[in-house]
Every structure is written in C-alpha cells, then in structure tokens.
Symmetry: C2
Subunit: 305 residues, 2 copies
Amino acid sequence: MDRIDAMRAFVAVVNEGSFSRAAERLDLSPQLVSKYVSRLEQHLGVRLLNRTTRRLHLTEAGMRYHQRVQQVLNDIEEMEDQLGDMQAQARGLLRISAPVSFAIRHMGPALQAFQVAHPAVAIDLQLNDRKVDILEEGFDIALRIGHLQSSSLIAKRITPVRLVMCASPEYLAKHGTPRQPEDLREHRYLRYTYMEQDAGGALYRWLRWEGRNPPGELISNNGDVLVEAAVAGGGIVLQPSFIVGDAIQAGRLEVVLTEFEPAPMALYAVYAHRQLLASKVRSFLDFINGYFGDPPYWDAFDQPG
Amino acid sequence: MDRIDAMRAFVAVVNEGSFSRAAERLDLSPQLVSKYVSRLEQHLGVRLLNRTTRRLHLTEAGMRYHQRVQQVLNDIEEMEDQLGDMQAQARGLLRISAPVSFAIRHMGPALQAFQVAHPAVAIDLQLNDRKVDILEEGFDIALRIGHLQSSSLIAKRITPVRLVMCASPEYLAKHGTPRQPEDLREHRYLRYTYMEQDAGGALYRWLRWEGRNPPGELISNNGDVLVEAAVAGGGIVLQPSFIVGDAIQAGRLEVVLTEFEPAPMALYAVYAHRQLLASKVRSFLDFINGYFGDPPYWDAFDQPG
DNA sequence: TTGATTATCTACGATTTGTTGATAAATAAC
DNA sequence: GTTATTTATCAACAAATCGTAGATAATCAA
C-alpha cells in the first residue's frame, strides 16, 4: 500500500464525508478507499473514523491526524510541483566546462542567445582544456574536442572540427610553401601540447621530433598563442579551423597542404546520462546542437566571397 | 511502491553517501534501495542522483528534493509518534454519558480515582437518562442500565443492578407489609417513568393500573425523588439497589417481597468498536469494570454488619 | 415494512514486490 | 599496467499484495 495514497484517501473521506463520494472524487472503487483507510488505521494503531453505513464521525485521533496530514500532503504536492516546474521549463544553474580557445571565440554569443531563449537558466561557464571529471566537479555539460573517455557518459556530437595547417603569407614567402608532408621537415612547427597523437593523421609523423626539443621550438597549451605566433611569421601551425578561420579569411594566414588535411575531429557535448535529463541540460543540448551550423560558420573561409 | 519508503531510501542514500550502506542501515537489500530510488526518480520525472559505482553526486533537483523531503519525513514521523503516544499512554478527552441517579451517587469518586491513575485524560461526564446516540453525539462511552440497542455497538457488562422493592418502616407499619405480589394492589406505588416492562419480572403485573392514573399517583423520571418520597412514607418504590442501598442500610427503608426480587439487570458500558480502541477508552473500561466490586459495594445491605 | 444507500467482507486474477544470481564499471593494491 | 575488490544495476522468479466484482449487513427514508 502506498501510504501517501492512503493519506489522500483518508483526507478525501473526511472532506467529502463519505467513502463512496471520496472514491468517486479520487477515481477509485469504494472498496479500495475503505481498504486504504482501514490499513492506515492499522498502521497507525488508532481508529480514525467511527463509521456507520450512513454517517462518519472523526475520533479525536482522527481529528488530529486529519489536520496534520493535510499539511503534509500539501507539502509533498508543492515539493513535487516545484520539481515538475524545473522539468517543464528550463531553470536552475547550468554548469558548463568548455575548451579555452573555443569558448573565448565562440561561446559568448551562443550563451547570450541561449539565455534569451531560456531566461530562467543561470549559466556558470568554466574554461578548461584538461578533461574535467564532470560528475566529480559538478558540471552538467562538458564541451570537448576529440572523443570521450568514460563509459558512463554520453557524448553528443555537436559540430565537426577541422584541423588546418597554415602559416602567414610572409613566412611562406620567406621559407617556401610545403607541397608534401615531408616538406614539413624543413619548417618551424608551432606545437600544441594537447594535440592528440592520431589527430594529425598523415601529417603526424612529420611533426614529431622524436622527443627531442629542437632549438628555438615553441610549445604551448594554448592555440591562440601559437596562432598569433604564426600570424607574426613564426612558423606553421596545425590548429582547428574555429581558431584560424578568421585569420585565414582576413588573409593573415594561408592554408597549406589542403589535400593532406586530417580527417575532421568533432566538438562533443558530454553529459552524465540520457534518461530523466534535467530540462536545462536538454534545452542547452538542443540549442547548441543547431547553433554553429553545418558546416559551422567559422569554416566559411572555404567558400571565399 | 510505498512512496514514503522510497523517500526514506533516498534520504538514507544521500546521508550515507552510498546505496549499500543505506541498504544496511534500512535493513533492505541494496538492489531494493536502488529500485526505490529509481522509481522515485521515474515518478518525479527528475534525476536525483548521478551515480557511478564509486561515488554519488546529487543533481540540483536532488539537492532541492533532499532538503524538503527530509522535512516532510520528519513531519510524518512526528505526527505518527504523537498518535502512538496517545495509544501508549491514555490521554485526550474522554466523553462519557451516564444515567443521572447512578452518576450522582457513584461516579464522582470513581472518576476521581480514574484520573489519579490516568492524569493525562480529561473527562466530560454528561448525565442523561435517555438513550444517547453515542456516535452522533460524540460520546466515547455511554453507561446504561438495561440492554443495548444498536448492533454496531459493543456493550460490556460492568456490574449487576438489582431492583429492590422497599418502603419506609413508618409506611409499612401504617399500611402493612405486602407478603405476596398481589398485596401490592392495596399499596401506593411510586412509579418510575423509564422502568422497562420486563424489568419488574413477576411484580410487573401488579404494578400496572392498566393505563389509568389513580388519583394521587406520583410518577417521575428521577429515581431519587421517588426514593425520597418513599423515605418520607409516601409509598412503595421499585428501584435499583444503588439508589436505595444507603437508605436501607440506614434503616430508613425496608425491603419487601425479597423472594420476588426481579432477575437482576446490569450496568453496561456501551462503546463503538472493539478494535483499535483509543487507549483512554480501553483504560476506562478496564478501570470501571473492577471498580464497583462483585457484588457491588452498594449491595452491602444484604450482609448486615 | 420495504427499498435504497452505504460500508465492508470474501474471493480471485493481475500486478507488484523483494530476492538471488549475474554483469559491468570504477577504484585500490600490487 | 594489471588484478582484485567494491559497488550499482540488470534479469528472472517465487511470493506477496493489489484492486475489482459480487455478496452481505446495516442504516435511514418513504
């Protein structure tokens, strides 16, 4: 027996003054309502109602119980309604982790647009390039480039992430434009710390220096810095198009080895589970899924015009 | 599923930080606790906990729910404890209906003694000679002389009630002492309104005047008045021994026709039901059952000395 | 009295419950 | 890195419970 249903039945019987009318109101059979109240009495060890076939009379215990149980039922209902609201319309605090360079360039307008659509959602955006433990650190969603790690997490593919190799026109004029991957040997490669081994594809083997750090090498865990260095003529970078797209379109960088472009990676939204997802999370996933376009707007350098 | 148990399980899981420890504390299998929480989530339509095999993390919804549900559970527990107390030790208001003449003479000391034994019970004693509807009028117990009427009520026999016929010595000296029932024809009978037809037994047929009201007859619905009249030499009365006992013992009345004494009636305690009886009621029934003695103390006139 | 209304009892099929054993995931220990 | 241990959950099954229908008893109105 569900004790809450039993309480509801008792309250209905008292308020309606009859088992049958209570049953009608609750959409239950009179027998069931009678059973519920009897069991409730048995559970409490107290007679709540004196009943004849014609009239009902509360006992003293029943009177006390009635008052308080009504309050309790209201509390429960209010509590559940509140949770229901959270599901019905997105609200609450949405904690997001995102890659630094990506977020700096593309998350600002996106979040602004999302919050216009969902004004009851507060957002806490934390920029991290390490792979955060979303459960442990309390994130609702982590945006990641590359693939997921934990099996208990869901990764939703949001948009492709192309890696393009490029350098400034000045640099290329001075050192020549590479035509084949092996030509990279002769160039200064501005190296990104977290570049995954398989991300470079066919290019990867030409980018390694077998652990040696060649004199004058530049390594950073921040793509922007490397790109700025490239723009300044510092060498060749292999970076996502969402970072270099603008510079390419502005003519400050030039793409090289286009035929050897690695298979695209992707931006994933990683979250904890699929069922009973909080509305704020579901809304954000839906929103971000369509936001960047396909292909994403930052890849516009492909179709110059 | 009992939602209250499910709530309890959820709270235990949160407080213990683990399903298995919660299960241990609640004395349930871990599988069941897991099931409870899952169903609770399903019912609410919200994920409450993010769980890995090693650690649990409350969702925002779970946090809100946890706080409030704990309050609700406390309320319920407190409420049930309070009712439990009412059962464990007698307390509350005990409403008793009792026959007027009996109560005036014998209930005062009885109630006093009862309340010494059960100080938390308040008593409302209403004196009525009519047969009250205990449910309708909200009585817990009605003391009655004679038998019960309603089938839904329980009547517990408390003590025998003897009806004795008596008159003052002066009256008997003047009008003679009746030796046979038929001698009553020649006497003045002081008549009690509610005397049941069968109560007088063999004497009854001699007490009727076939509807006629003989000149100078005295009728009352109060036995005390009739007894006082008899003491004053006004005639013969047929009254319960609990009324006339004192006067007999004091020599102010004399019993007549002892061999023809009607079969004893009884004092009954009538109450509404047998199961889940409120403690105050059960205590009073137990108390009153042994209080008057067997035979009751007012019948002491039988054993002079 | 009769008839209507009402609460409850009984019996039964359908559903749910709680358990056991198995599985998969996450950490600790080595 | 690999293995072992702990832990939550899944699957399946017997046992218990649930909710309904029919019957019964009790009360009140006509």
